[in-house]
């Protein structure tokens, strides 16, 4: 079992959770992820590391309550525990050598892009961070990012923070102003990553995107997370999750991403009010 040390809502939809996992905390690097399972009848879901503290032996995850599992996860409290927490999985983001980087986070992707921005900043890289949200109440990690970036630009779809527009508009503006990036890193909805890559392509700026396909085992065994990159399918869990943004087939990824949408309603309904404590009570079916 993996004890939860702290739970903190970051906004109405997004929760930050600090989990005790000393071995993982020692090894995990920016860009890598974990697979977790809440209890015995839970599913495995992938979540990317937001922060780790090797001394304290903790790994922090940030998630948005969008479906049955993340809604249940959001109800857990400090002192509860997760049944399974496996990692580090995937490859760390290749950040070595970047001198002038732009890190772009869309919505929850901001929390996932944060450790990369921090690593780059701490390694002497000039870092612009551009983040995008629907509205100002959903803005994430503004203070944390301020502390580890050369420049932070926060965009909102509705302009409620006085900065209306998409992350790609901000990126284009920075490029037009002469920002000479040698690395752009985008994390967020597939459609956002698609347009970031389309923005950087004419300039030949190296662009990495962190793909977020469906995963089951997360160890390279089942092929559920395959992503079309160039002419071949690669497995995001072992070959990624970062890929060359100019080679990813985003339309293919978006299509595969909705494959299980019709199941999600039923899962949410069933999850409500279910007691599923890992088979210790011996009462639940199949325990």
């Amino acid at each position: 079992m993996y004890p939860i040390e702290r739970v903190e809502p970051l906004n109405a939809e997004v929760t930050r959770m600090v989990v005790r996992a000393p071995e993982i905390a020692r090894k995990i690097r920016p860009g890598q992820f974990i697979m977790l399972r809440i209890d015995e009848c839970g599913e495995r879901i992938p979540l990317t590391m937001n922060e780790c503290d090797p001394k304290a032996g903790t790994v922090t995850i940030v998630f948005q309550a969008v479906g049955a599992t993340t809604m249940r996860l959001a109800q857990l409290k400090a002192g509860d525990a997760l049944l399974d927490f496996a990692g580090p999985l995937g490859n760390p983001t290749e950040l070595e050598g970047a001198r002038r980087a732009c890190v772009i986070g869309g919505g929850l992707g901001t929390a996932i892009a944060y450790p990369q921005a921090k690593w780059l900043y701490e390694h002497g890289c000039e870092v612009d961070v551009i983040t995008g949200f629907r509205t100002k109440d959903l803005i994430l990690l503004e203070d944390e990012i301020n502390a580890c970036s050369t420049r932070q630009i926060v965009m909102t779809d509705d302009g409620s923070n006085g900065n209306k527009g998409l992350v790609t508009q901000a990126l284009q503006q920075r490029i037009d102003e002469g920002a000479d990036y040698d690395l752009v890193l985008a994390v967020g909805p597939v459609i956002m990553m698609k347009f970031v890559a389309a923005t950087t392509k004419p300039y030949g700026i190296k662009t990495l995107v962190s793909m977020n396909p469906l995963m089951i085992d997360g160890t390279g065994m089942c092929g559920g997370c395959r992503v079309k990159v160039g002419d071949e399918y690669l497995h995001a869990c072992v070959d990624g999750p970062d890929f060359d943004g100019h080679l990813v087939d985003y339309d293919d990824a978006m299509r595969r991403g909705v494959m299980y949408r019709s199941f999600e309603g039923a899962a949410r309904e069933a999850a409500e009010g279910r007691d599923c404590n890992g088979g210790t009570d011996g009462e639940r079916k199949g325990a």
Partner: protein
């Protein structure tokens, strides 16, 4: 060896009851129900106790078959179990999933004129009996330990390995066997498993209707009682690496039993369409995650109405029968003929009984999708068998102009699997073949790196449970030898 009972001259095996095909195709309950005590004794009495006992040589872990069968024939099931268990750590599993027709039963003397003795069924019977009578089984095991030499049990040469520690990577059949054998010698064993449940292919791959998971859990729990500890959620190569296990983590030796779990694709257009999956995904969702109980369990599984499974091995049969149970009409597409199918005859027969249809000498050419990107058809071509290839099998060749389309909304690819390169990539000085297989000594399972041993599918590529167990046993002996020489 003379028999102390009258030999049953029946040419056929005593039949084993099975669930009715129409009924069982709707549930995940075990198909084969096992022998009653009377059935088991009648079948055991078909064994003529021939002096050369070819069956023992046919068993990769060397179970003393005539000895245990004689005890079943006499009705001493506890003692029969103790004899089996002495040589085989997982008898309830082997009795169910071994391809006995090419192993012990394939060389049985009775098989020369009629059916061989049902050795697998009897092994299953005694281990199921022991699970139902744990106290009597434990007493018999204790007694057997005292008189082991007398009954000719083949086992690892006894050495005192108290205080030694071995890390076993992976928890499939090769690893579990290796761990069990080392624990018997007093060695401290820790098994590292990447998934949240132990068992490897026994847990995520082989379906409930062939191998109930509760039974795997019980055989694994028995290993735990013998002193083996398990660390799940531990992907070696990421969380730890082999050098670290041998160094700062203080293990004296490492066994790599990581299997061959990486999916292979056919490599045709349209394999990325929605509704197309590799058999490993279907089986993992259903077996490991219990998706057939969705939404009681959170993991869903997509099942179509018309399913095609591509491939002809046991995994293809498992996938086809699983899809059938999820409500699909299922067809197996295989490029060679029935005789060439690598799946066990019994599995093909079971699939057929359950309504799975076969398109033999047929090869998929292209997957067709609709405008939303879901699979809707599989274009195939008829094949004929040409000249033998380097493996000795006749090479299938496409018949020009024979293309046709099967309507499908679910396509499962079961064309084999490859070895995960993670251990090789993260370990210094480990010699590999061009196919990512670990090079290991056939007798001792030693690799090119001192203190590191390997066996099972990680060394020979995708094969059978019992071959993996045989390798696990040899590796335990090899490790024992290595540790004793270092002491």
């Amino acid at each position: 060896m003379a028999t102390s009972y009258e030999v049953n001259r029946q040419k056929e095996k005593v039949p084993m009851p099975e669930l009715d095909p129409a009924e069982r195709a709707k549930t995940f309950d075990e198909v084969a129900r096992g022998y009653s005590e009377e059935d088991a004794m009648a079948e055991a009495r078909r064994c003529i106790q021939c002096p050369n006992a070819p069956c023992v040589g046919g068993c990769p872990v060397g179970v003393p078959i005539p000895q245990f069968i004689a005890q079943v024939a006499e009705g001493d099931f506890a003692r029969a179990y103790a004899i089996v268990k002495g040589a085989n750590a997982l008898p309830a599993i082997c009795g169910r999933v071994c391809p006995q027709e090419t192993q012990c039963e394939g060389v049985c003397t009775r098989g020369r004129n009629g059916e061989p003795v049902g050795i697998g069924r009897l092994e299953r019977f005694v281990s199921d009996w022991a699970l139902a009578h744990p106290e009597e089984a434990a007493v018999a095991l204790g007694k057997m330990r005292d008189e082991r030499a007398a009954c000719g049990v083949v086992e690892v040469e006894p050495k005192d390995l108290a205080g030694k520690r071995v890390a076993v990577i992976g928890s499939g059949p090769a690893s579990l066997t290796c761990a069990g054998e080392l624990a018997k010698l007093g060695c401290g064993v820790t098994v590292f498993e990447a998934l949240h449940k132990v068992g490897g292919v026994l847990t995520y791959g082989i379906p409930e209707f062939r191998l109930p998971k509760a039974l795997v859990e019980r055989e694994v729990a028995e290993l735990g009682e013998s002193g083996v500890s398990f660390e799940t959620n531990a992907l070696v190569g990421k969380l730890y690496d082999v050098d670290e296990l041998l160094g700062e983590r203080g293990f004296d030796a490492v066994f790599v039993g990581t299997g061959a779990g990486l999916p292979s694709y056919v490599g045709i257009e349209g394999e990325g369409l929605n509704g197309v999956m590799v058999a490993n995904e279907l089986l993992t969702r259903v077996n490991l995650m219990k998706a057939y109980e969705f939404p009681e369990y959170d993991t869903p599984v997509y099942a179509g109405k018309r399913c095609v499974v591509v491939g002809g091995g046991n995994v293809a049969m498992d996938a086809a029968r699983t899809a059938r149970r999820l409500g699909a009409d299922v067809r197996v597409v295989y490029r060679r003929g029935r005789e060439e199918m690598p799946a066990r005859a019994e599995e093909i027969h079971h699939a057929e009984q359950e309504g799975v249809k076969f398109e033999l000498l047929t090869n998929p050419v292209r997957v067709l999708g609709d405008d939303k990107g879901w699979v809707r058809g599989l274009e195939c071509v008829r094949m004929e068998l040409g000249a033998p290839d380097e493996s000795g099998r006749r090479r299938p060749e496409a018949v020009a102009g024979s293309e046709f389309v099967i309507d499908v909304d679910m396509l499962v690819i079961a064309v084999g699997s490859k070895t995960n390169p993670l251990i090789a990539q993260s370990t210094s000085g480990l010699e590999m073949t061009s196919r990512n297989l670990i090079v290991a000594d056939e007798r001792t399972c030693a690799t090119s790196k001192p203190g590191v041993f390997a066996g099972g599918d990680a060394v020979i590529g995708a094969a059978t449970v019992i071959l993996a167990m045989g390798a696990g046993k040899r590796a335990a002996a090899g490790i024992a030898e290595y540790l004793a020489s270092k002491a």
